[in-house]
Subunit: 413 residues, 2 copies
């Protein structure tokens, strides 16, 4: 039948999957908002429900993974647009400490538990590495929807996420080298140096460059020049950062930050970006949920390992990150600590590499996968709790729906 042919040519199956993802994410977001729980948790759980673990309506795929990646790229780009470079530089020292301790504690804990559980040296190194990287997307989404991106602690978290990513790269390089044979310290230093150099140069000079280019951008004839130049910069720096060894979202964040001053008053450009983010971020969240493999729970020892790894991941990141904020109030230390908890896809990537090198076993892989999803589900309510107190103290009325707040956020943007 031509109808069937047309549907397949027009990607009927794919459009159906996109529809299911958006609709389920938004239904769950609505339910969670009404329960006064973070919408992100609802959207991740939507992924668990429609994914292979429960209903099996949508299977994880390369396409959805790519849309999810573009979604988190836009999210960090938008967060960057709200963040001026000096906001990060001002908290630079503290962010460095938070990033470093927040990496050290989970690495040691991961190494220890894997060794204790009978893992080899290489296996323990990989599990340590898999516990390291914070997935800042989840925290950024929650803070943005609460309108709290301009808090000092929010900026410390963002800055620490950049440090965290660079350190994660170095650790992953070392661990992979150990896994494949030997460590070439010269090559390692070169890789790490390039990553740091790229991040620092773009962070330092990007904003000045874009601010000086702003009049030129205004005089372009293309429609929506700032938005379109922003798109080009966002994707350009995302790709560059990958090839310099940093995550694509760091490049997107740097791109946003480079444009933060030049587009500060450009409400329209922020609103246009906001539209893309709002459309794509559910794919990022649902895709995390779809990774969860509930069949793990058939094996009691894997359940125990998964729960212990998750507990360690939460506690060590909270303590490491929180200690990095030493000297601030206890509440602020807690805010920074919980903000670093979500691991998301990065830990999974590390574990996948370990699996690919036959360096880690299936049970450790299952445990890391569980930890990655579980930390993204545990963190948002904690973030909301730790930051909500703040809102009260500032006299912001409590029964404020996220819609109002995110409207404010859009308006400030």
């Amino acid at each position: 039948m031509p109808v069937v042919i047309a549907a397949s040519v027009e990607h009927g199956e794919v459009l159906l999957a996109l529809f299911i993802i958006i609709a389920s994410a938004k239904v769950m977001a609505e339910i969670f908002e009404r329960l006064r729980q973070p919408a992100v948790v609802g959207e991740i759980l939507a992924g668990v429900v429609i994914g292979p673990s429960v209903l099996g309506w949508v299977q994880p795929s390369e396409l959805i993974a790519i849309i999810a990646e573009v979604g988190v790229i836009f999210l960090l780009f938008m967060v960057g647009l709200e963040t001026k470079p000096q906001d990060i530089f001002r908290v630079g020292k503290r962010a460095f400490l938070v990033g470093t301790l927040g990496v050290a504690f989970p690495f040691v804990a991961g190494y220890a538990i894997a060794s204790f559980w009978g893992g080899s040296f290489v296996e323990a190194m990989f599990i340590g590495a898999a516990l390291v990287a914070t997935s800042v997307g989840i925290t950024a989404r929650v803070l943005a929807s609460m309108g709290l991106l301009d808090r000092e602690t929010s900026r410390i978290i963002l800055g620490a996420a950049v440090i965290d990513d660079v350190l994660g790269l170095i650790i992953l390089s070392v661990v992979s080298a150990v896994g494949t044979g030997g460590v070439d310290f010269g090559a390692l230093a070169w890789t790490a140096g390039l990553a740091v150099l790229f991040t620092v140069i773009v962070g330092l000079f990007g904003s000045k460059l874009m601010t000086s280019l702003a009049p030129g951008i205004t005089s372009l004839r293309m429609s929506k020049p700032f938005f379109n130049i922003g798109l080009i910069l966002c994707f350009g720096l995302s790709v560059m950062s990958l090839y310099f060894g940093v995550a694509a979202i760091i490049g997107a964040f740097l791109a946003g930050m480079a444009l933060a001053e030049a587009t500060e008053e450009n409400h329209k450009m922020h609103q246009l970006t906001n539209g893309v983010t709002e459309f794509l971020v559910p794919f990022f969240l649902v895709n995390i949920g779809m990774q969860l493999n509930l069949s793990v729970f058939r094996d009691a020892s894997v359940v125990a390992l998964a729960l212990i790894v998750t507990l360690l991941a939460v506690v060590t990141k909270f303590i490491g990150g929180g200690l990095g904020a030493w000297g601030m109030t206890r509440r602020e230390m807690a805010q920074v600590g919980v903000g670093m908890i979500p691991r998301g896809e990065v830990g999974v990537v590390v574990a996948q590499i370990g699996l690919g090198l036959a360096a880690i076993s299936q049970q450790f892989f299952a445990a890391v996968l569980f930890m990655a999803v579980a930390t993204t589900l545990i963190a948002p309510p904690l973030i909301k709790l730790c930051f909500a107190e703040d809102k009260d103290r500032d006299g912001i009325p409590d029964p404020m729906t996220e819609e109002d707040v995110s409207d404010d956020f859009a308006r400030i943007g």
Copy 2:
């Protein structure tokens, strides 16, 4: 190297392709704006340049085709948001005539030239069918960027595009049935009836339903409720329309139209949609350009055939569509005629089906492919020319950049 692994896990190659597409599209758009030519033509040509025909930097792929499809879905959704149902119903009779004559003339011409060129009966039927379907996306993009979607002729074109699509479905069904064996008129009537019924019911009652649901949508707790409900409706109706045998973009257009009244004053919702459209439409345009196969020009007889088919496609659609607007002024008839010229991907799909059934030869396929891209390149300057006169008469100053106009468009939205 872990860096390379990370880049592949994070889809470095894909992100690079997306970057090249956006950057080249926007550079060409800027150049064409400065030459006072339509930006869409520049963006389609960007696809020709970066595609396999010239530089070969980006290859057409399933992924890019899907992003392109989602792009044109958003474009028609946004056009729908600017179009109230009664705007279309008011011009219904005329749109019906434009759609019908605009289908009949190219079909007869395509059948005739293919027969004359030595094609079999089935081959000639397929070429006729391939010349039928208007790709309304191109026209919609040009009219939207000129801020002219509210013209009577624009509405006739949009209405005729819906009729055109349903007629195209019926013709494709008949032709495919002829190609595979015999025509089952019962099944055909059923398919056509369903398609018409779906379109009419959604067109008639969608707007009333959404307007009555609007207070409920306002009271939702999720962030940006109208935008998100709009997304769900847009993808839901796109998928449904495919399974009822109509193109996905018709469903998206109907979804937008259903929300047009309820969101008339909702500037923010329109702006958010606009952001997604602005991001994704370049993929739609570049993807058209990438389909062009310039190696066709090595064979003189194929060149001749391609040029004749293109000429016939332009002239018969112009005359057929224009005659359908009989009774209006000559300028208006010309506006309607040129608005229907672009064929885009639909003719290619028909030709692909013919190729799949071994019903048409490679040279006819090459000619249809050339025609599909060429008509999208020829139409925009003609549209601009035919509608520009109008702007002068209304006393709108001439040296108006598209940026200003599309800003107006955004503001009206």
